[in-house]
């Protein structure tokens, strides 16, 4: 099936080992750039109390929620222990012509 690819930002808009918030058609996402320069995308809100993950800290492959430090692996969306127990949804990402594209399915 053809994806629903959306242009989210320029590759250079995100620092290495960092995250930005991306809002699209009433939804909010978080887009990550890993220390080894790969890009990933997840739902933008923590599964514990609906806080913007883009305000949190990226360390290696982990995004830490700003509110109570719940941790997720942003590559897989996996919740990494209390207080978060519900995984984050992830989205396919590609970089084309210096633009970060995410597939909202």
């Amino acid at each position: 099936m053809a994806g629903n690819w959306v242009d989210a930002c320029a590759a250079g808009d995100i620092d290495q080992e960092d995250v930005i918030r991306f809002d699209h058609s009433g939804r909010t996402f978080a887009i990550y750039r890993s220390p080894d320069d790969s890009y990933f995308a997840t739902d933008g809100l923590c599964t514990h109390e609906q806080v913007h993950l883009a305000d949190g800290l990226v360390m290696d492959e982990i995004i830490e929620c700003p509110k109570h430090n719940g941790r997720f692996d942003y590559r897989t969306g996996a919740a990494k222990g209390a207080p978060v127990c519900v995984d984050l949804k992830t989205y396919p990402v590609k970089v084309e012509g210096g633009r970060v594209m995410i597939d909202l399915g």
């Binding site: 913007h52 305000d55 800290l57 700003p66 509110k67 430090n69 127990c85």
Partner: protein
Amino acid sequence: MSAAPRVVVVGAGEAGARAAMALREAGHVGEVVLLGAEAHAPYERPPLSKAAIVDDEPAFPAIAAAADLAGRGVEHRRGATVVAIDRAAGEVALADGGRVPYGRLILATGAEPRRLAIPGGEHALTLRDWGDAARIRRHLAPGARLCVIGAGFIGLELAASARARGCAVSVIEPLPRPLVRAVPAPLAERLAARHRAEGVDLRCGIGVASIAVERDGEPFTIALTDGTTLGADLVVAGIGASPRVELAKAAGLAIDNGIAVDGAMRTSDPRVFAIGDCASYPLALLDGRRVRLESWRNAQQQGERAARAIAGDEPGVAAPSDAVPWFWSDQYDLHLQIAGLPDGAAPFVERPLGDGAIMLLQAAPDGRLLAAAALGPLGAVARDMRIVETLIARRARPDMAALADPATKLKGLLR
């Protein structure tokens, strides 16, 4: 080899529930029995003064659903109140006459709100559990007048939540400013100013002499120590909590501002552990000084620490904990975070964080970073606080002038 011991946890709150689940994560294969006096699945308390007051039909903030507990092989018994510990027999006695044998025992009984020791003090409600929050919320219709006694965290959060419901709120604090013990003065003053700007009648330096009910058509009349009176539809006391140590004390365990434990949460009896609000433990950060903390993360971490010690069958007395105390509070759109235990009498360095947020940092005389507190919008506060907390945990001696300079990117200090 002996079989893995049965672990009995007394108290199914934040610490007890986390300990029960963490036992499995740490590889414990023996039975786990979680005995809780309350009728609910284990739940988080922080929302009780926030969303559970603001929202008309708040979501139940479950830590773990019955299925999660059962899936981990944790037997949770609701409405099971422990009335005695028999250490010689290795059993606890329940209020209904039942007895539950243990191989290891974890006490996670939490803390009890203090009652006002003044005439009529029994008319003030307190806020500790889900039922308390529901009772308070029912009285907080728009226009209702709430009087909060005590400007601590729970009192101030309740005041902010009641304003969100359109109530008229007064807060009476006998000390000269709110949050005297826990929060550096400049941040406490900012919080106080915000409450006043939101229309809260915050009066500091005044005590409460008595509370009368149904006088001259007033549901409650609060007499203050300056001779004035205040009318209210509801009175809530937020004047702190005392650790629930009665079971431990009656069983002859060492008590020192809470049930005294070592860095692995073990009491003076090597088969008995204590965690969360009811326990006091030695902190490496303060050179081994014993502290008792009432904080959500503390409850979690101590639950996990006790679980590891039990699953790993750790021998001997453990060294002081290397945890960094951490606490947050939400009032209006302001988010407060505190890492370490700030000393109000020692100097602070100030770091502006943007969006009007500020951080205060404190170092020991030897340069070791000891504590930090920040107040502002969540997005402006969280990242820098998390980095500073990591520096405190690492016993770092950062250049304080660089920390105060907003141009210094803190993340660089972690490398």
